[in-house]
């Protein structure tokens, strides 16, 4: 007898500039996707400087395809909401037959860039911030990243999210996870509402 099953696929965004690949094989007992929801889960609250907005309409988006890339599902926006905001938790209706044990594939593209749509923050050492480099002003927690521009010679292509990191005012820091308090990015998830049958015997 068919039942509803809820399948969750998570993606962790560690680097704001790199897309996150998704490639997950769905369980064999699922036969049909009837609803989908792409939501932010956790982690943004820990990014410093802290985000002030209660809602950001789009922090990124998923591109997804089902059935081993045979069936593109489309593009799905992900919005940020503070935990106390009433979240829109409705499933978007879709109706896709799943091949047995096929893959869900796609990418998540982060759009969340410090300073979250505000004016770029300049560096005490002068100039705007080079994309991908992390620059400190000597105090714990003041880490700037994300805005493009000229900041001397870039040293490395990086751009991890960090919770706290202490570097000298004139440093252009290459992020070193061994010495910094590394913040592990944020997590977004795809919730699939599926029809399936645990008695199903298919291969």
């Amino acid at each position: 007898m068919p039942h509803f099953f809820f399948q969750t696929i998570r993606a962790r965004v560690r680097n704001p500039y790199l897309p996150v690949d998704i490639s997950t094989r769905l369980p064999l007992h699922l036969t049909r996707i009837v609803g989908i929801q792409c939501r932010y889960c956790s982690g943004i609250e820990r990014i410093r400087p802290a985000i002030t907005a209660e809602i950001i309409p789009r922090i990124g988006w998923f591109t997804l395809a089902a059935n081993n890339r045979k069936r593109p599902l489309g593009v799905f926006d992900v919005r940020y909401e503070r935990p106390w905001i009433d979240a829109n938790d409705g499933y978007q209706e879709i109706d896709v037959a799943i091949q047995g044990g096929s893959m869900i594939t796609g990418t998540y593209n982060n759009e969340l860039q410090y300073p979250y749509g505000q004016a770029p923050v300049s560096n005490p050492a002068g100039g705007a911030i080079q994309a991908g480099l992390v620059i400190g002003d000597g105090s714990l927690g003041n880490i700037y990243w994300g805005a493009g521009g000229d900041f001397g010679t870039p040293i490395a292509y990086d751009g991890l999210f960090f919770e706290t990191l202490k570097v000298s005012p004139t440093d252009i820091a290459i992020v070193n996870p061994a010495t910094a308090t590394n913040y592990d990015g944020y997590i977004v998830a795809i919730y699939l509402k599926c029809l399936g049958d645990t008695n199903l015997n298919r291969s």
């Binding site: 500039y17 897309p19 591109t63 081993n68 796609g106 990418t107 991908g132 493009g148 292509y157």
Partner: protein
Amino acid sequence: MIEQLTYIHRQMKQRGIEVDYESQYDFTLTGEEGGERELDFQNQFLFLLNKSALPIGTSIISDTNSIVVEGLNVSEDNVEEFSGRININLPEKKADGSDLTRDDVFNFLFYHIIPR
């Protein structure tokens, strides 16, 4: 090693897609023109064949796949697939920190497939 065209045709076959037309599709981008190009390839496929020759930081974002060229360990026979609206951006700077100019010419080589 993967032979790129063999890989592409095998992909199409596995998905049950019959090829109606296929051709090379290439163009150049220079630093002078802002290094940005938008392509419309709805219901078609573009396979990037020369990822390893593109500058670090190049991003290609499409409706079905997104990549940023990280520069390290990109195999010469790497194939990336795109479809739908495709947005291509060169990085603002080269790896040595200098700005891109009109002398910096980058060739993008794709294999274009129109399904039947």
